[in-house]
């Protein structure tokens, strides 16, 4: 018996760490000393060489690929600069360098970018963290997304480190602490890959709009009830909503979720290296490793699986294209209506249609994985988006005709440049401001940070 007791305690020692990890340790390099395989693969998220038809790690300028977007987001920071996400190692670099952080932003923008976030939230308090101007914490938030965000340093358990997710569950009446192991393998991702908004004019408190459910209609109702407006569209004067990467929400509507498959199953496949098996931490498009991810469950040819993914994405993108064309029209015709002297009363139903139509389209477009994760739900949503924008256009044509006007001609916005010019952005100036910030402020931030924690791994700055 003593033998058994002895052996049971031994079990806990098997997973012993080489260097104990400090509770708030943000540096991935330090965690990596204990877990070299996971760290090495994690570091490989620096690699930007893989590009698939619609995704991948390459730095894709989405505004250049789909110039319509500039029009749809006119008056909002996204019309300046919007790229497809790339590897986690780039997160801090990219939020520093995007033109979207030149307008004053709260620290909420740091929330999903760094392992320093839990440390600082604990230090200054969650509400204070969000409230702080983004630039204020620049020297504190320097280590990109990493181990601390998903793991408990003592047990290496998966855990939730972002309060917004815990709070969203709580408001739904669910206790996230009761999640199963398999659920956790998706929930760690749901800390960030979700639609969000900043609650409160001053508070900027990071909030997920899930109180009524996960569907696009549920969130729409949520926002409508609290009259939330992300920005006023300068062309059509619509009180707009912006959707951001609802990957978790859409994933929940798809067959893989219904069959209990988790994000990690596809994006972090199991891997053998010599005689050891571990989880691949090069989180990326599964298309870069179909054999390791999909083929665990699907024993069909790689080319067939690739075709499955592209087929689904292509069909969804076809509808998304239709939706954006009609939304552009709806915004421009609305302007023509206002110019022709339409009344608030006349325009009210039009603006509501535009708000809802663009929200629904954006919900699909902002989720780069959605067109594979839940293709049918995406197509359904886009179908309703198309209906709403075209209803708006119909009403607008009627209003214009009544006011004795012709519908306006759609300007040439066939490239990003032309579109940005049309909405009046002075891009050279924006680039210059950013460059100054990069040359003067960033070195200061890094210097302060290095004094605090030692030299950082600077690879991602290249």
């Amino acid at each position: 018996a003593s033998n058994i007791i002895e052996r049971r305690t031994e079990a806990k020692l098997v997973q012993q760490v080489v260097t104990p990890i400090n509770e708030w340790e943000p540096r991935n390099e330090i965690w990596g000393q204990n877990y070299p395989r996971e760290f090495e693969t994690y570091k490989n998220t620096l690699d930007t060489s893989f590009a698939s038809k619609h995704g991948g790690s390459a730095n894709v300028d989405m505004l250049a690929r789909y110039p319509n977007l500039v029009m749809l987001w006119a008056g909002y920071a996204f019309s300046r600069d919007y790229n497809q996400g790339r590897g986690h190692y780039w997160a801090v670099n990219d939020v520093r360098k995007t033109l979207r952080t030149d307008i004053p932003q709260p620290s909420t923008c740091w929330s999903c970018k760094s392992t320093d976030v839990p440390r600082m939230m604990n230090k200054i308090g969650i509400a204070n963290f969000y409230k702080a101007p983004w630039k204020e914490l620049g020297s504190e938030i320097v280590n990109p997304i990493g181990c601390q965000d998903c793991h408990d340093p003592k047990s290496m358990n998966l855990r939730i480190t972002r309060p917004a997710l815990v709070e969203a569950f709580q408001r739904q009446g669910k206790d996230i602490a009761k999640s199963t192991h398999q659920e956790m393998r998706s929930l760690v991702c749901a800390q960030c890959h979700v639609e969000y908004y900043f609650k409160g004019k001053e508070d900027k408190y990071l909030t997920f709009p899930w109180d009524k459910g996960f569907s696009v209609e549920d969130a729409e109702k949520y926002y409508d009830e609290i009259d939330h407006v992300d920005w006023l569209h300068p062309i059509s004067k619509t009180p707009m909503l912006k959707a951001q990467h609802p990957d978790y929400e859409l994933f929940k509507m798809g067959i893989h979720n219904e069959r209990g498959v988790s994000c990690a199953d596809c994006h972090m496949p199991y891997k053998s290296q010599g005689n050891v098996k571990f989880t691949d931490h090069k989180i990326q498009s599964p298309l870069a490793n179909i054999a390791g991810s999909c083929m665990v469950c699907h024993r069909v040819k790689e080319t067939e699986l690739l075709k499955n993914v592209y087929d689904r994405q292509d069909k969804v993108l076809e509808l998304s294209g239709i939706a954006t064309n009609n939304l552009v029209k709806a915004h421009l015709y609305a302007k023509a209506c206002w110019d022709a002297g339409a009344s608030e009363e006349q325009m009210k139903p039009v603006l509501k249609l535009i708000r809802h139509s663009q929200w629904r389209w954006d919900f699909v477009a902002a989720s780069h994985g959605g067109s594979f994760h839940a293709p049918l739900e995406c197509a359904r949503i886009l179908g309703t988006s198309i209906e709403k924008s075209l209803e708006a256009v119909g009403l607008e044509m009627e209003i214009l005709a009544k006011l004795g006007k012709q519908p306006p001609v759609i300007p040439d916005i066939s490239t990003k440049d032309k579109a940005q010019q049309f909405i009046g952005l002075d891009m050279p100036k924006l680039f210059q401001t950013k460059q100054e910030f990069i040359n003067t402020i960033l070195p200061q931030w890094d210097k302060t940070a290095e004094e605090r924690q030692g030299k950082m791994n600077q690879d991602y700055k290249k």
Binding site: M121, A177, S272, K277
Partner: protein
């Protein structure tokens, strides 16, 4: 009637041994219960994978199973114990459990655990149990059982071909050094968040 008496006469000890025997039996029973408890042997009666990972030597199998296509559709016992009838199931479990815990306690488990013949047959039967419809074509099935298909050392086992199903090609006590097992999963929400929220 007579035979029963005969048996009794063999089992029942002579009078003078009665007290020591009762004491001894009591001690053995007590010890057995004690062993049963601390070795989590009762868990052997459950179908949850968590029960297998009461022993850390099962972690690597748990880990590979958890990452396999079967994790969502079959637990350890779906494969590793007989499902032909309930008595057979628990008898097999008891035998297996006893041997595993003995070996575990005596620290005589090998670095590379290999499935035993009895266990092998049970697993094979279970593959067939679930995939029976797929194997409805009798000739395919017979060809597999007779080792007619595949390479030369095909023993007619499903995993001669489906080697990755479910534990993968690499297996040893240290093949999944940092396996995440659900027993250790709490707390999912660290204290600092819990505090601020409540």
């Amino acid at each position: 009637m007579r035979t029963i008496k005969k048996i009794f006469s063999v089992i029942i000890p002579p009078d003078k041994w009665k007290v020591p025997v009762i004491v001894a039996l009591g001690v053995i029973t007590g010890l057995a219960f004690f062993l049963f408890r601390i070795s989590n042997a009762d868990s052997y009666l459950s179908d949850k994978p968590e029960t297998c990972i009461n022993c850390h030597v099962m972690y690597s199998q748990y880990d590979s199973w958890q990452h396999s296509s079967h994790a969502r559709v079959a637990t350890c016992n779906d494969c590793h114990v007989p499902h032909d009838n309930i008595f057979h199931k628990y008898l097999f479990k008891a035998q297996d459990g006893l041997r595993h815990s003995t070996i575990f306690t005596l620290r005589t488990e090998p670095q590379v655990i290999r499935i035993k013949e009895a266990g092998r047959d049970v697993v094979q039967e279970n593959c067939e149990r679930c995939h029976g419809d797929f194997l409805a074509y009798h000739e395919t099935f017979v060809a597999i059982r007779d080792g007619e298909v595949g390479n030369e050392d095909n023993e007619g086992l499903c995993w001669d071909c489906h080697k990755e199903t479910p534990h993968g090609k690499v297996n040893s006590l240290s093949s999944a050094p940092n396996a995440q097992v659900p027993k250790q999963l709490s707390p999912i929400v660290p204290e600092w968040i819990q505090k601020i929220i409540k």
